[in-house]
Amino acid sequence: MRLVIGASHAIERRIGLFLTILLLAAAPLVYGQSYFLHIVSLAMISAIAALGMQLVLGFAGQLSLGQAAFFGIGAYTSALLTKTLGVPFPIAFLAAGIIAAISSLALAPITRLTGVYLGVATLGFTIIIHLVLLNEEWLTGGSFGILSIPWPNIGPYVLKGDRAIYYLCLVVMVATYVGISRIVASRFGRALRAIMLDEEAARASGINVTLYKSKCFVIAALVTGFAGSLFAGHARYLNPNDFTFWKSIEILIMVTVGGLGSLPGAVLGAFVVVLLPEYLRALDQWRLVIYGALLIVLMGTGTGGIVGLIALTARWFTEGVALSSRRIASRTRRAQL
């Protein structure tokens, strides 16, 4: 069971998007605590990375376990530019995305691979990048990491404090969501879905499969690089251990839990993966065990994830309502006879 993208439910989607933005924008006015802002900002940053992953996995069907590498490249690029070279944040932000995108071109030959082999190759790439971050102390500070990353600044305004960062993340997340939505609904998105559903037929219909796989990797890397830049400005301290293959797997879990093929699902999954452990502190030890089991169970029931579950429930509900009203109507008719 996969979610079908189409012109259907367009209005519901718009309303949903609007309400979500409203909710997230208003939340800091109600829950002003620093901790809340901090953690939801992290969720939004993760959501940006998850959106990139959704494009690659949920729409093009490519198992990329390399997102952590782009996240790390983006984060370190941004941190080094702002801290060491005093580059203004907007430029560092763009550079982070662009350099991550360029590094994804190194993976271009790998996009020829399919299925698990692509996954393992991208995993190898993540491990290599992690080792570079860990070993090249002169550049990355090695295992000590990078400290005292400056607050992001836009022109003369310094975005200092959790609230400012929160709104920055919100703006970027919404922009990313809208951007990826447009891409997915276009000819480009159709080509990706065609590749996922039947590569051979896609080729016979005129799609250069390898090129499009590479393109979608580049877009995902760009977006993930942006997320990394925000992460650097948000945490203001970077450590290579945040960018291991576990991060790649975490992003995979976000997209899977939310629902493959659904953009709202990617955001939802990111929020669940980041926020839920905070509210289930007691189970913290078992968090990863639960994720592992959850992944298995979800994969057994299709790829719908949480969003799929919601859709199922909604359909069951509306059909149930229609069914029961029919039953009432027929019972009344029989009573009248």
């Binding site: 070993n135 065990v289 994969m299």
Partner: protein
């Protein structure tokens, strides 16, 4: 580099290579039989190591017994995973991507479950032999390495013999090559697949005990060696058991020798770089290349 050092490096490389080969042949067997890449194969190896260790803590057994425990533990664990999880997924006819992600989930589950049970501290393994060292020419070899090589090769030879000369083994091969026809011949596919997983798990379990005795055992000892074993199996030729051993030994040698010249921090990068090169340049492996040239 002296002759002695060269010999020690070679033996060390072959030893770790044999371990990779044992894990890697499991990948080959499972892919051939079910088409699944068993992401959690490294974790099965870890379980074998852990079972062996826990048993040793309860009652001090001689090493061969520990090896057997590890093999049985690994084999049983693999069979349980196959029958309870993978088979259910196959019966539900889920898309291939789902199964791949599920094996990743299994890997996460096993690693972190093992973390809960055995804790995060690496645990010291009893040594294969206490103190006696072997002298081969000018070189001083630890009995560990030598016996790992011997045992590794012996196990693979035994496995090959089992597959070629016993009825069950032939049934396994038939099921792997053409499951439909095998079923028509009266072969129980469920049992064959389970047995394939069991054998792959047993070999991995043995590798776990051997690896543990070489270094130590910990909950995350399976992940990186698992990937490396996959590289090794692909290097040799995915689908071939002898190829997995060959690939493992070549990989082990390359890794050991390059660790000497590269900074130790990048030791794992060698394997990952090899992975990418192999997948791109010759995914059919050494054996595939050899076949082509004939």
């Amino acid at each position: 580099m002296t002759g002695a050092q060269l010999i020690e490096l070679i033996v060390g490389g072959i030893a770790i290579g044999a371990i990779y080969g044992l894990i890697g042949l499991g990948f080959s067997m499972i892919i051939r039989a079910t088409g699944i890449f068993h992401f959690a194969q490294g974790e099965v190896m870890m379980l074998g190591a852990m079972f062996g260790l826990s048993t040793e803590r309860l009652l001090p057994l001689p090493f061969p017994a520990l090896l057997a425990v590890g093999m049985i533990g690994g084999g049983v664990a693999a069979i349980v995973i196959e029958l309870v999880v993978y088979r259910t997924l196959r019966l539900r006819r889920v898309p291939l991507m789902n199964i791949v992600i599920a094996t990743i989930g299994m890997s996460i589950l096993l690693q972190n479950g093992s973390l809960q049970v055995w804790g995060s501290e690496p645990m010291v393994y009893p040594k294969l032999f206490a103190t006696a060292v072997y002298h081969v020419g000018p070189a001083t070899l630890s009995p560990q390495s030598v016996w790992i090589v011997v045992l590794g090769i012996a196990l693979v030879v035994l496995l090959q013999a089992f597959l070629k000369f016993t009825r069950t083994g032939l049934a396994l091969q038939a099921a792997a090559q053409d499951s439909e026809t095998a079923q028509l011949m009266g072969i129980n596919l469920t049992r064959c697949t389970a047995l394939t997983f069991g054998l792959a798990g047993a070999m991995a379990g043995a590798a776990g005990v051997l690896l543990g005795s070489l270094f130590f055992a910990s909950f995350d000892m399976g992940f990186l060696p698992g990937i490396k074993a996959f590289v090794a199996a692909t290097l040799g030729g995915l689908g071939s058991i002898g190829g997995a051993l060959l690939g493992g030994i070549v990989f082990g040698l390359i890794e050991t020798f390059s660790a000497r010249w590269l900074s130790s921090g990048y030791r794992d990068a060698v394997g990952m770089g090899m992975l990418i090169v192999i997948l791109l340049a010759f995914p059919q492996g050494l054996i595939g290349l050899f076949k082509r040239s004939r």
